[in-house]
Symmetry: C2
Subunit: 316 residues, 2 copies
């Protein structure tokens, strides 16, 4: 951290298995960044305060620097439960509802997650609401937002309000099936990362897209293709990935219908590339927002909404 710059807030994305901390100045510029494997699971054992203060000390953060947090640290199993905000809810109202952690020597708050309490479609999220808030969605109009991952979240935002959302456990299905189902014989122990250009990825994706999200009738075909068509392990992984991502997008598209505006994809790196490819195969327009930048922007916005930093944004 340059000596002549002072941070105005620390923003923290604290998930189940990892955490990221950024120090941000009054002009919203990042002065320092740290990433650690000490997510919720580690923090439950070591202590949330100990881990956070350790990172802040290593970054040279001042003692009174306020901290805003999003993610699983606010769950019932986390540092302090930040009760879910029920949707529909305006995005800025979600951010403004951050709760304070009592008994700390600095101002530390946690952004609440979202709950959809619809009887036949209950759902929850923690962390993605902050990514969503930082994605630079237009204040007006109907926007469909895709946040892929272990538990992919799709959000329907209407005029700055979260109207509804749904979770597809695509990343988890891939790892659980690859490790524990009969498909482990097809995929092998260490399949290479799947690339969007793999023709098997694209073929199986198209099949899933054509079937409205029905993937269960295709899973065993991957095994059969190994027996009958000499499908190789890395290509089998590409089939499974294409099938599951294609299925997710077909299912989401069926649930939320077409959108006039491009789908907002909040993702980074290889995952962004795969989803861009599948959205393209589905004939859907897409605008990609980097996931790291989105969560950081959302956290800064949350700090602002909670009066932890000046509302004006960039200093005069």
């Amino acid at each position: 951290m340059p000596a002549n710059k002072a941070p105005s807030v620390a923003v923290v994305d604290w998930g189940t298995t990892r955490m990221r901390v950024w120090l941000v100045d009054e002009a919203d510029k990042v002065l320092a960044e740290r990433r650690g494997d000490d997510g919720l699971i580690t923090a439950q054992a070591v202590g949330f305060s100990t881990i956070l203060e350790g990172h802040l000390a290593a970054m040279g953060a001042p003692e009174a620097l306020p901290v805003i947090i999003c993610g699983m640290a606010g769950s019932r199993q986390g540092w302090l439960e930040a009760p879910y905000v029920t949707v529909p809810s305006p995005i800025d109202a979600i951010l403004a509802g951050a709760i304070s952690i009592p008994g700390q020597r600095r101002d530390i708050r946690i952004v609440p997650g979202l709950a959809q309490r619809q009887a036949d479609a209950p759902d929850v999220m923690r962390g993605e609401e902050t990514q969503l808030a930082g994605a630079g969605l237009p204040a007006n109009g109907r926007h469909l937002v895709c946040m892929p991952g272990t538990h992919s979240k799709w959000v329907l935002a209407e005029d700055g309000t979260v109207a509804g959302f749904c979770t597809w456990p695509t990343g988890e299905l891939f790892s659980v099936l690859a490790a524990h189902s009969i498909l482990r014989h097809s995929l092998g122990e260490q399949p290479k990362p799947v690339t969007a250009g793999n023709p098997f990825f694209q073929d199986w994706c198209r099949r899933a897209l054509a079937e409205g999200g029905d993937v269960t009738s295709r899973l065993f075909s991957i095994r059969a293709a190994g027996l009958l068509q000499d499908l190789q392990p890395d290509d089998a992984a590409a089939c499974l990935s294409g099938l599951l991502i294609g299925g997710e997008i077909a299912s989401a598209n069926r649930r939320y219908g077409a959108s006039a505006a491009p789908i907002v994809l909040i993702a980074s790196g290889a995952l962004a590339t795969l989803y861009q490819a599948v959205l393209g195969l589905a004939g859907l327009a897409v605008r990609t927002v980097d996931a790291d930048e989105a969560v950081r922007s959302g956290l800064i916005e949350a700090a602002r909404e909670n009066g932890m930093i000046a509302k004006s944004g960039v200093a005069a």
Copy 2:
């Protein structure tokens, strides 16, 4: 085995984890039965001949008694590979293609499995072809057959020919998700067996039926219902079961379309009851055939087709 009755053939259903042996007389009557946990996996270690002869000796089978086998014993990892018969194929031609195990002191044959070599829907089965042959399907007409299990198989039979088939890994998805996904937190360690009368089973089944086999958008809802609606572990298991079985039936129905004749359900016990309930919820007529009886009848028919017992069936 009564001393005054002599078996004419031993019929064996030899799967991955278990085997069943029946001694049958010339009137197709069962004289003796044994069940063991020495399926393919055990047999690969101990030896197929050793296990089979052990069971036959314990049942007092004569040395020259012929044996007909179906199931995974005929796979590449089995006793001897009985190459797949490619569909479409007449059912009796499948049975007639049993291969002989050389170098045995008795006549031992294995019924081949089926392969669907369609480029975009490869599939295989071993064992279910014999159940199908023993289900007493009418020789004419279009019949849809459901054989539920770890890997549920649906077969479209037309005028005594297997026209096509498809696998839904419903049982495997249930166990893998219950044990290894985030749903393990919802279902608990030892969920009670699901019953067809459970209202959660029925509700989630209806949801899956209404969505054409798209189940991935609903999986995480089971977790969310635990957090938001106080869903209890045994009911969460019922939700997952209803969702997966409902999804299978919706998907199969979409794939094969409605059938004039009732769906033939080849199943036993609790699984038969669950599938009958879901087929009922889907508004589909069903005729249930006991799975044990079906495989035994199919094996006897295979022995007859291969000239191991008299073609005439019941002795004069």
